[in-house]
């Protein structure tokens, strides 16, 4: 009896270990250190939380999901090493990463190693123009946002427009798209087009300059910290002019940094906020995130990383872990997948299809109010 029991035990152990050996490995390349460290921390939390949920529900077709996390350090060289490392750690697909230039440094490595890559915050147009058939992104592209931005500016009806960017790849791209769009529209007059230097504390010099060009509206294409500081320092100057931002200003820290009083009335276009996600799955997810970490995800981009995980799970559960098959599945068969941030389909280039952008306005208490379309 005892013998049989032992043998059974041994068999169970063996089965378990084979089950472990066959775990589905998915890579996550995220900026855990460096300039984007805050985004990376959230990306990791969300993907690990989702993986936990999948595993609790029995895994993908019985196989557990294992997330292999590597730090891309928010810079190209570290990212190349991280990509190399992930490529040899037996992952079939990699989620990540946030910065466009960082993603670009890793793209060719995944491509050559035949691994599926789903970028989550890299909106630079160039990334999906290279013909890499296993490259996808669950975030939108810069040109898409430019169209929405121009549209919004036209609707607001201001004639004297100032555009300010911060020289980062993303912000310049968006600023150029908007400038082009406005020129074609022919209804506005561009009074200012220039850059500030990011990661500073003091923007009074550029603001003073800007003020003297008398714009009716300012479009800032950079990131939330600068947007918040600009608003705060505009208020200190006693200058109140409508201001819009791109999707990189969508972060709850915008209000934290700028202070509700200064940021009130700021508009930004963005994919919907984590709190405004209306599908049931998204609501459930946000709830479990809050239960676990006691806060909201601070930006939409980390939720988009969660979407990358979800489409991968969908693909793997129907076609297995072969990267080729995953890619074909994502290109051809994934239609209107019910993601956290809305419906997801991919086009031939691997870009996400569908209009994701909404207009937001910051309210009195600093809450982000979705504007009716």
């Amino acid at each position: 009896m005892k013998k049989i029991f032992l043998i059974c035990l041994g068999l169970i152990c063996l089965l378990n270990s084979t089950a472990l050996g066959a775990a589905v490995k998915i890579g996550l390349m995220a900026p855990l250190t460096g300039a984007y460290a805050s985004e990376g921390a959230d990306m990791r939390r969300i993907v690990e939380l989702l993986a936990e949920e999948v595993n609790k529900a029995g895994g993908i077709n019985g196989a557990k999901v294992e997330i292999v996390v590597q730090d891309d350090g928010s810079d190209a060289r570290t990212a190349a090493l991280a990509a190399q490392r992930l490529s040899t750690s037996g992952v079939c697909a990699v989620i990540g990463t946030y910065g466009s230039a960082v993603t670009e440094a890793s793209q060719n490595i995944y491509h050559r190693n035949g691994i599926v890559q789903i970028a989550t915050g890299s909106t630079s147009i160039r990334l999906s123009e290279k013909g890499y058939e296993r490259f996808f992104r669950t975030c939108p592209r810069d040109d898409e946002q430019g169209v929405v931005a121009v549209d919004t500016l036209h609707k607001m009806g201001h004639r004297q427009v100032a555009i300010l960017h911060d020289s980062t790849a993303y912000a310049v791209g968006l600023a150029d798209e908007i400038r082009e769009g406005l020129r074609k529209g022919g209804r506005t007059n561009l009074v200012f087009y220039n850059a500030l230097q990011p990661n500073e504390r003091d923007y009074s010099a550029v603001l003073t300059r800007l003020k003297n060009t008398n714009p009716e509206v300012i479009f800032f294409t950079g990131y939330y910290p600068e947007a918040a500081m600009l608003r705060r320092q505009m208020r200190d100057m006693g200058w109140n002019v409508p201001m819009l931002g791109g999707d990189a200003t969508n972060n709850t820290d915008l209000v934290k940094i700028g202070g509700a009083a200064a940021v009130e009335g700021f508009y930004f276009i963005s994919p919907p906020m984590p709190a405004d996600l209306d599908s049931q799955s998204a609501k459930d997810f946000i709830k479990s995130y809050q239960d676990k970490y006691k806060t909201m995800p601070s930006s939409i981009w980390s939720v988009i990383a969660g979407d990358a995980f979800k489409v991968l799970v969908a693909a793997i559960s129907s076609v297995g872990t072969e990267p080729e098959k995953i890619a074909v599945y994502l290109h051809k068969y994934l239609e209107d997948f019910d993601g956290l941030t809305g419906k997801i389909s991919f086009d031939d280039k691997g870009d996400r299809v569908g209009d994701l952008y909404r207009l937001y306005r910051v309210g009195k208490q600093g809450e982000f109010v979705l504007q009716p379309r």
């Binding site: 250190t33 730090d71 190349a80 040899t88 060719n108 160039r126 790849a169």
Partner: protein
């Protein structure tokens, strides 16, 4: 005049074994570690080129990334705009980088110590800002430039980590050999003299600003050429790869390894690029440990991990040739060499002579010869 200790059979065997090991490494290690070795190789060569300026000549130069950037961008621009094959741009990258160094270093070469240090930091920042702002419409702004064509050597395309490994480390081997010869040449000795005591060097007829400038240009030429290889490897040349912190790492490689010592710089490059990767499993804690390790290593070996060996000069041919000097020295007989101690004298810039190691007469002999 310099004693080159003849390689003994054991040494030859050792070198041969090392060579075979180096050849086999990519197969043993797999692509991730090979790629890390490639990064180490690039940093080692960059470190060696900085070593000329910082280690041999003793100029506090913390802006080496600027020269490296010029090389990488020359390659990227020529390759993307004019479809020039990448390896062809190698000499041009070196040349442009050298010219750039000549132009910027000329007015600042007379600055001393920390003043030079901060100016070189300023130069690397100005270069980075210029690149970000798409200067002359050539650099592609902060997006950088994307290199499409791989390196091809007689039709053989270099793209995998193993290919780059052989390319980088062959260049590395050539660099080590050349810089070894250089360090023991008249030029190398002059640089060392300037480091030990600029005034005395000048007094002995060494044209110090000429030599300082030459060391800058030489270091820059080399860094520019490595920029080409880096550009080919990383494929996206963008300003953030050439930041101030990159210069700081290079600076740390040279000082940590041992200023003026080739094996030291190699070890420094291995540690500075390797440690963050070894600490990778610590995730977000890795840089914390890296910083602590830097402090610990410096305290453990303040002269660098492998400080340069004492320089030996064979004085026999000079015996009796000078009315006063070495002939009078009782020790200077057959088989006994004179030496000069390496390392920075403490407080050179403070103008304090206290604590300066006594100079051996070895260098003097060379200068008079």
């Amino acid at each position: 005049m310099i004693v080159r200790r003849l390689p003994k059979p054991a040494g030859i065997m050792g070198l041969g074994a090392l060579f075979i090991l180096m050849l086999a490494l990519p197969r043993i290690l797999g692509p991730y570690w090979t790629n890390l070795l490639n990064d180490m190789g690039i940093y080692a060569i960059l470190g060696l080129s900085l070593n000329i300026i910082l280690g041999h000549c003793g100029l506090f130069h913390m802006g080496h990334a600027a020269f490296y950037a010029v090389g990488a961008y020359v390659t990227a621009i020529l390759s993307t705009r004019f479809a020039v094959p990448i390896l062809w741009t190698l000499p041009l990258s070196g040349l442009m980088s050298g010219v750039f160094a000549l132009v910027v270093a000329r007015p600042i070469i007379h600055l001393r110590g920390d003043y030079l240090l901060v100016v070189t930091i300023g130069i690397v920042e100005i270069v980075r800002i210029a690149l970000v702002n798409n200067i002359f419409g050539l650099t592609g702004g902060s997006n950088g430039l994307l290199i499409i064509n791989p390196i091809s050597i007689f039709g053989f395309q270099v793209f995998s980590p193993a290919h780059f490994y052989y390319l980088i480390w062959s260049i590395g081997a050539v660099t080590i050999l050349l810089f070894y010869l250089l360090q023991n040449s008249r030029f190398g000795r002059a640089l060392n003299y300037i480091k030990q005591d600029e005034l005395a060097a000048e007094g002995c007829g060494v044209n110090t600003s000429h030599y300082k400038l030459a060391s800058f240009v030489l270091g820059a030429v080399w860094a520019g050429m490595i920029g080409t290889i880096f550009a080919a490897k990383i494929e996206t040349v963008s300003p953030q790869s050439f930041s101030y912190s990159e210069s700081v790492l290079l600076f740390a490689i040279v000082i940590l390894g041992g200023a003026g010592s080739i094996p030291g710089v190699l070890l420094g490059a291995f540690l500075i690029t390797g440690l963050p990767e070894i600490f990778r499993e610590l995730q977000s804690y890795r840089l914390l440990f890296f910083g602590a390790a830097m402090v610990a290593m410096m305290i453990f070996r303040p002269q660098g991990l492998i400080p340069p060996g004492r320089r030996f000069y064979k004085v026999r041919p000079y015996l009796g040739r000078f009315p006063c000097g070495i002939a009078a020295r009782s020790g200077a007989r057959r088989g006994i060499s004179l030496s000069a101690s390496p390392g920075y004298p403490a407080g050179t810039d403070a103008g304090a002579d206290a604590g300066k190691p006594a100079r051996g007469p070895g260098d003097m002999i060379e200068e008079q010869a």
